[in-house]
């Protein structure tokens, strides 16, 4: 029983970080129907920026989150205006190709700037854990999960309580309607893309503390993040959170009770089963095939 609870705790903590990272991916798809395959690469870029700040100034990586978020917002805004907006509204395969191109470009730039050697950010709390009774709570993961909860809360507030958030949601639900009521969908799309990348930037700063990384690490992240947003329902923020927590817990339980070799297969089995029952994912909505942007 203790082991089961321990796995649930660590699974939920890791799931919270997954949720933060996948929230931007689902937001971007929700607003502009772009499957952003560069999402993992943006996360690794944020991890490198965190590493650079930490190694140059000694700034704690978790304290550098606001800086990284601001920088990544700019990176996202630039990427959208330079590249993504040209394929917005195209067939989904075009957006997949273009964003994969961005991923490869970021990988190349990161390799050129930082080299293809593994980087790691070690802090005083990297290897420690908080002991509560028989349970251990990894300190870095605990802090990361707390930051994820705060940022996700802020994202929900932005989307639900601000004019920009309402415009983003309106653009996602009914673009023509949004245009009719005076929402500049083009401008909102750029903001939504930048917001998604900024949120991911926080996730990148967090993973820099938790795991070593190289430019090629983004392939592992994008596979996991896509699985999460498909499970939660493409375009649904709350769905991504639920999907992330489910995947986080499923990975932990599968490792213990089924075998480490099944850790990738079990979450996909869960996705498979859920998609049979709900093809649009847990909280996703059916997309109109005739709806074009």
């Amino acid at each position: 029983m203790i082991t089961l609870l321990q796995l649930l705790i660590t699974g939920l903590l890791v799931g919270a970080v997954y949720a933060l990272m996948s929230s931007g991916l689902t937001l971007i798809f929700g607003v502009m129907r772009v499957v952003n395959l560069a999402h993992g690469a943006f996360a690794v870029l944020a991890a490198y920026l965190t590493y650079t700040l930490w190694s140059l100034t000694g700034l704690d990586p978790l304290l550098s989150v606001p800086i990284i978020v601001a920088v990544m917002f700019g990176v996202g805004w630039l990427s959208y205006n330079l590249v993504v907006r040209h394929v917005r509204g195209s067939h989904i395969s075009m957006t997949v190709l273009v964003t994969f191109g961005i991923a490869l470009t970021i990988e190349g730039i990161a390799g050129f700037v930082w080299g293809n050697q593994s980087r790691t950010v070690r802090t005083a709390y990297t290897d420690t854990s908080v002991q509560i009774g028989p349970f251990f709570l990894p300190t870095a993961t605990l802090l990361a999960a707390a930051i994820a909860v705060v940022l996700l809360g802020a994202l929900f507030l932005i989307l639900n309580q601000t004019w920009m958030g309402r415009a983003v949601r309106a653009s996602a639900v009914n673009e023509s309607g949004a245009l009719l009521v005076g929402v500049s969908v083009k401008s909102i799309s750029a903001s939504a893309f930048a917001l998604g990348i900024a949120t991911l930037g926080a996730g990148g700063a967090i993973i820099a503390v938790m795991y070593p990384f190289i430019p090629g690490t983004h392939y592992q992240w994008i596979a996991r993040l896509l699985a999460i947003v498909v499970l939660g329902g493409l375009g649904s923020l709350m769905g991504a959170v639920i999907g992330a927590l489910l995947i986080g817990v499923a990975e932990q339980l599968a490792t213990q009770y089924v075998g480490a070799s099944w850790v990738e297969i079990v979450p996909f089995l869960i996705i498979f089963i859920i998609l049979i029952v709900r093809p649009q994912g847990i909280l996703g909505q059916k997309l109109r095939e005739d709806a074009t942007v």
Partner: protein, 402 residues
């Protein structure tokens, strides 16, 4: 001279000029020997790939300073396979068909060398790989593939297993855990140790393979801790090895004996990843030691420091040794033309390298023994075999006498 004779003479002259133009240039001293290699310079294995490339570069630089091979300079041609099995195949095809290379060197990791070597075999080209320890490389009846390290993966932990078996009864672990990356190198390395320890009556408490995408090892460590294992033998590449040590600390689980197949050989990057205090006592198999008194090692270390400003990691040394093997076989045979003769020469001879003396079985697998290394007082030492040891002390993980 009649017009007819003039025309005939002009035609003959034109024919001669044409024939002369078509003739291939002689492979004289001014024509470099072109050596092709694909490496994972991007993607998931880029760290090892970049180190191997540095080893190749240092070898080529030193070889050229010595006058090249057979009096011809060495020219290296690299392609990036992006850690992709399909790309590595097309890269070697391009090296052979478009780049017209004279010789080949291998890529990094068994995962990529297995498909790459099929291209070389089909073309009848000698294929010397610095990092292809999987037994799968050499059970296919290939004639041209050779591994330029001392032993296959299944034998790499032999010295470690023998040390455990030889411990006094009270110090011997009774239960051992074997987590391993799902990889053609890591899994056979762990299985080789497990086979020996089980035969000696040591119980297996936990054994499982995890996929390369595994990031969080908390659950695996929890399972190992619950199994009652006293020693852990992990088949690890770099990132998973670092993540595993971090997870051990987070769970406050500290087995007395910790062996990792590869990650501790990454030198300073491993120290940066796990923290210097956590390196103490970690055991690992290694092909190379920077202080080894082997053929050309001093020159290699000095040149590597000159070119890259640091001590060479193991993958770079392995790349360099592959170059030494290539140079040795070509110099001995006297030509690059007959690739079968090159392969046959390697099957019947030894080569002195910075990794020590290398010799091969008929299938191209090496006949040697790996070193057992251990991090002690922030330094990577060789602890076994005794004749190569840099210290006579073997300690437990995180210190403590053994």
């Amino acid at each position: 001279m009649s017009i007819k004779k003039l025309f005939t003479a002009a035609s003959a002259a034109a024919l001669l000029v044409t024939l002369a133009g078509c003739q291939a240039p002689a492979a004289g001293p001014e024509v470099p020997i072109r050596i092709g290699a694909s490496l994972p310079l991007t993607g998931e294995f880029s760290q090892g790939g970049a180190d191997t490339q540095r080893g190749y570069e240092v070898w080529a630089a030193l070889q050229n300073e010595r006058g090249g091979i057979l009096g011809r300079k060495v020219e290296m041609i690299y392609k990036d396979d992006a850690t992709n099995q399909n790309t590595v195949v097309s890269n070697y095809n391009q090296l052979l068909s478009n780049e017209n290379v004279d010789l080949l060197l291998g890529t990094q990791s068994s995962l990529l060398n297995i498909p790459a070597s099929t291209v070389a075999e089909r073309a009848g080209m000698l294929y010397i790989c610095a990092s292809c320890a999987s037994p799968e490389m050499f059970n296919r009846g290939f004639e041209y593939s050779f591994f330029s390290q001392q032993a296959l993966a299944s034998e790499q932990g032999a010295a470690f297993a023998d040390w455990i078996i030889g411990l006094p009864e009270g110090e011997r672990p009774q239960k051992v855990a074997y987590p391993s990356l799902d990889d053609p190198f890591a899994t056979p390395a762990v299985e080789g140790v497990r086979k020996k320890l089980e035969a000696a009556g040591i119980e297996t408490a936990y054994a499982d393979t995890y996929p390369a995408a595994t990031k969080n090892f908390d659950a695996i460590v929890t399972a190992i801790r619950d199994s009652g294992a006293e020693a852990v033998v992990q088949g690890a590449q770099f990132e998973d090895g670092v993540n595993f040590v971090r997870a051990l600390n987070r769970a406050n689980f500290q087995p007395e004996i910790l062996y990792q197949s590869s990650s501790p050989t990454y030198g300073q990057q491993y120290v940066d990843g796990v923290g210097v205090e956590n390196t103490e006592g970690v055991l690992f198999s290694s092909s190379y030691h920077v202080d080894a008194d082997t053929n050309g090692n001093k020159e290699f270390v000095a040149k590597y420091r000159e070119m890259h400003g640091e001590l060479p990691p193991e993958d770079a040394a392995d790349g360099y040794a592959a170059g030494q093997v290539l140079a040795s076989v070509v110099e001995s045979v006297g030509s690059t033309e007959d690739q079968k003769a090159l392969a046959d020469w390697l099957r019947g001879n030894q080569v002195e390298t910075i990794l020590g003396t290398l010799e091969w079985n008929k299938d191209g697998s090496p006949r040697g023994e790996f070193l057992l290394g251990q991090w002690q007082n922030k330094v990577s030492e060789v602890v076994l075999p005794a004749e190569a040891a840099t210290t006579d002390r073997i300690t437990r993980w995180r210190g403590g006498e053994s």
